[in-house]
């Protein structure tokens, strides 16, 4: 009886999921179809028309070439990469070091400091933006070295703001390393420095990878920090896309193509690294 009931339940669940999944996919599918349409058609009819008459449709890739060159989306793509890759990799070593300290070393104020880190997980970014911007500007006034408007400004801010989450994820992972392993290494006379580099860091690679995927998506998708610290000198994808939204003269299909260019990287990361991504998520993401 149980088996029959479960089968019935399975079919009902399947039906509900199909309906929900259609609703969930529809917006993105619509965007994709729109991006492939000719300008005139995208302007005068909804994208679902294509599904009704797929063969009378003029498929057209020109909106992609248009946005990549005219709207400088290709340049923005490079800017986004130049912001995201360092902002993903640079925090890793810092966070791993700190996570090691919080996991394997005992010192005064450890519990308190770690509570501060946990608290900072939720602190709003907006709270720090303006003073940091002022700090960069006064630094430039004193030294003549430009920071604001350069990629480096975004690297610093993204790295610092990623620290709490990075430490949290990596420490949670390090907690699962048996203490006896560390003790054995200590008995052999290894210093903490050696234990970190030779033993703990190599074991912790999966946690570093989980965090890196997170951080990559977060930075790639960020608008606010890119707007404040880099702005229009080296506009990143989110920035360019938002300014394209203001100019509908270009047509629906152009904005759609632009949006899809910016989506392509996160989707690629997601589908190739889904397993690690979800593992990182369940390891405790509270951002």
């Amino acid at each position: 009886m149980n088996v029959i009931r479960q089968k019935k339940q399975g079919r009902g669940s399947f039906a509900v999921l199909i309906i929900l999944a259609t609703f969930w996919l529809l917006p993105t599918v619509g965007l994709f179809i729109t991006s492939l349409r000719a300008k005139g058609e995208a302007q005068t009819s909804g994208w679902w028309d294509v599904l009704l008459h797929p063969f009378s449709q003029n498929w057209d890739l020109s909106s992609y070439s248009q946005v990549l060159t005219e709207n400088k989306l290709a340049t923005s793509f490079i800017s986004s990469m130049a912001v995201t890759v360092p902002a993903t990799i640079l925090p890793l070593l810092f966070a791993a070091y700190a996570a090691f300290g919080f996991t394997f070393l005992s010192f005064k104020g450890r519990e308190f400091l770690f509570s501060v880190i946990i608290g900072l997980l939720v602190v709003p970014l907006q709270g720090a933006l303006v003073p940091v911007l002022k700090m960069f500007i006064s630094f430039t006034d004193k030294t003549g070295i430009e920071i604001s408007g350069q990629y480096a400004a975004a690297w610093f801010v993204h790295s610092a703001f990623a620290m709490p989450l990075a430490i949290y994820i990596i420490r949670n992972y390090m907690m699962t390393i048996p203490n006896t392993l560390i003790e054995a290494a200590r008995m052999d006379g290894a210093s903490n420095f050696t234990i970190f580099w030779r033993l703990v860091l190599p074991i912790s690679v999966p946690a570093l990878a989980s965090f890196a995927i997170f951080q990559f998506l977060w930075v790639w998708n960020d608008y606010l920090i890119a707007f404040v610290f880099i702005g229009n000198e080296r506009p990143v994808l989110t920035y360019t896309l938002l300014s394209m939204l203001g100019q509908y003269g270009e047509g629906w299909q152009a904005v759609a193509a632009g949006s899809f260019v910016s989506l392509s990287v996160p989707l690629l990361v997601f589908f190739s690294l889904q397993r690690y991504f979800i593992r990182g998520l369940t390891a405790g993401a509270v951002k």
């Binding site: 399947f14 999921l17 969930w24 909804g46 700190a98 300290g101 303006v130 949006s259 997601f270 889904q274």
Partner: protein, 329 residues
């Protein structure tokens, strides 16, 4: 291309530099006698991070709070004005609306996100592992989309053209099929309907996150507790509400809190969809507008301080929760 090479060089230089910093600090520490070394060595490990967080997060946040009590002149000089910035902000025409909007985001988005995520997780648990995987990917995929891209995507749903012109928006087309007239959805302020339309976007983005965590929790519910329920003749609904739900409750709360924080800080979606017009503005959007568009530091900082104050209770909850969790393991 040059930019990419610069970035690559920065990565290599950055890693070398950080490794060098730690190596150097370690070298210094090694000079001390064993007893002192034991005391200061941990700070070599956590020190650089504390410095980074202090410099870029903690000190600036405190400065923001200080600035909220200051008035800034054009030349950058500041003077103490007490609560004037807050009074100015409260006196703004948009302020009461903004508070109501924020409260609505908080009241609606987390509960719906968790409920939908839970429903999907539970249904997906019944359909066999291959179908489950595919469904999960579909629901999870929006998680990777930026708020700005999501705004572009949903503009195609909500798009509006005056009557008699070609409609390209899905919602208006469906609405007209049902016999309605085309609507400018974002301008419908009755019952804050336009706010609800914006909230759907955040729910769409984050339900997958809720689903992943809740699904993991559902799968860890011990089979024998379910079997015991079945033996006692409980139906599917009873098993879910009386047996499964209580056991996954802590996860549901954790997800709820995370989405709640997201809803409190919501900004990009509003900016990209309505720019805060038609009574859709929220706190974080007000900060952006007052500082970057109107150049009004005082009011912007007052908005930030309110945002921080609103988040502090959640912060304390998180820390307490973590401590309990830590004590248990």
């Amino acid at each position: 291309m040059k930019d990419l090479l610069t970035a690559l060089a920065a990565v290599i230089a950055g890693i070398a530099l950080t490794a060098l910093i730690y190596w150097f600090l370690n070298l210094i520490v090694r000079q001390f006698p064993e007893k002192i070394k034991k005391v200061i060595e941990p700070y070599v490990f956590i020190g650089p991070v504390l410095f980074l967080i202090g410099l870029f997060v903690i000190i600036p946040t405190i400065q923001s709070i200080r600035l909220s009590f200051m008035e800034e002149a054009i030349d950058g000089s500041t003077k103490w004005v007490g609560l004037q910035n807050f009074k100015d902000l409260f006196a703004e025409e948009y302020f009461p609306n903004m508070v109501v909007n924020n409260l609505m985001w908080i009241a609606i988005v987390p509960i719906l996100t968790v409920s939908i995520g839970l429903a999907i997780a539970q249904f997906a648990n019944n359909v066999g592992s291959r179908a489950e995987k595919i469904f999960k990917s579909i629901f999870f995929m929006p998680m990777t989309i930026s708020f700005v891209s999501a705004a572009v995507i949903w503009r195609y749903i909500y798009a509006y053209a005056p009557e008699g012109q070609d409609q390209v928006g899905l919602l208006n087309t469906l609405w007209m099929k049902l016999g309605g007239k085309p609507q400018a959805w974002f301008q419908i302020e009755a019952f804050r309907f336009n706010n609800l339309l914006l909230m759907i976007i955040l729910i769409w983005l984050s339900a997958g996150y809720a689903m992943v965590l809740l699904s993991a929790a559902i799968k860890s519910v011990p089979e024998d507790t379910l079997e015991a329920g079945r033996v006692d003749g409980a139906n599917t609904g009873q098993i879910f509400f009386k047996i499964v739900l209580p056991q996954i409750w802590p996860t549901a709360i954790a997800v709820f809190i995370t989405v709640l924080i997201g809803a409190m800080k919501v900004f990009d979606i509003v900016l990209a969809m309505t720019g805060g017009n038609y009574n859709t503005t929220v706190l974080a959007q007000t900060f952006y507008l007052e500082y970057f568009i109107y150049g009004n530091t005082g009011k912007a900082m007052a908005a930030v301080v309110i945002l921080i104050l609103a988040i502090i209770p959640v912060m304390f909850y998180q820390v307490r929760h973590y401590r309990k969790f830590e004590a248990a393991r």
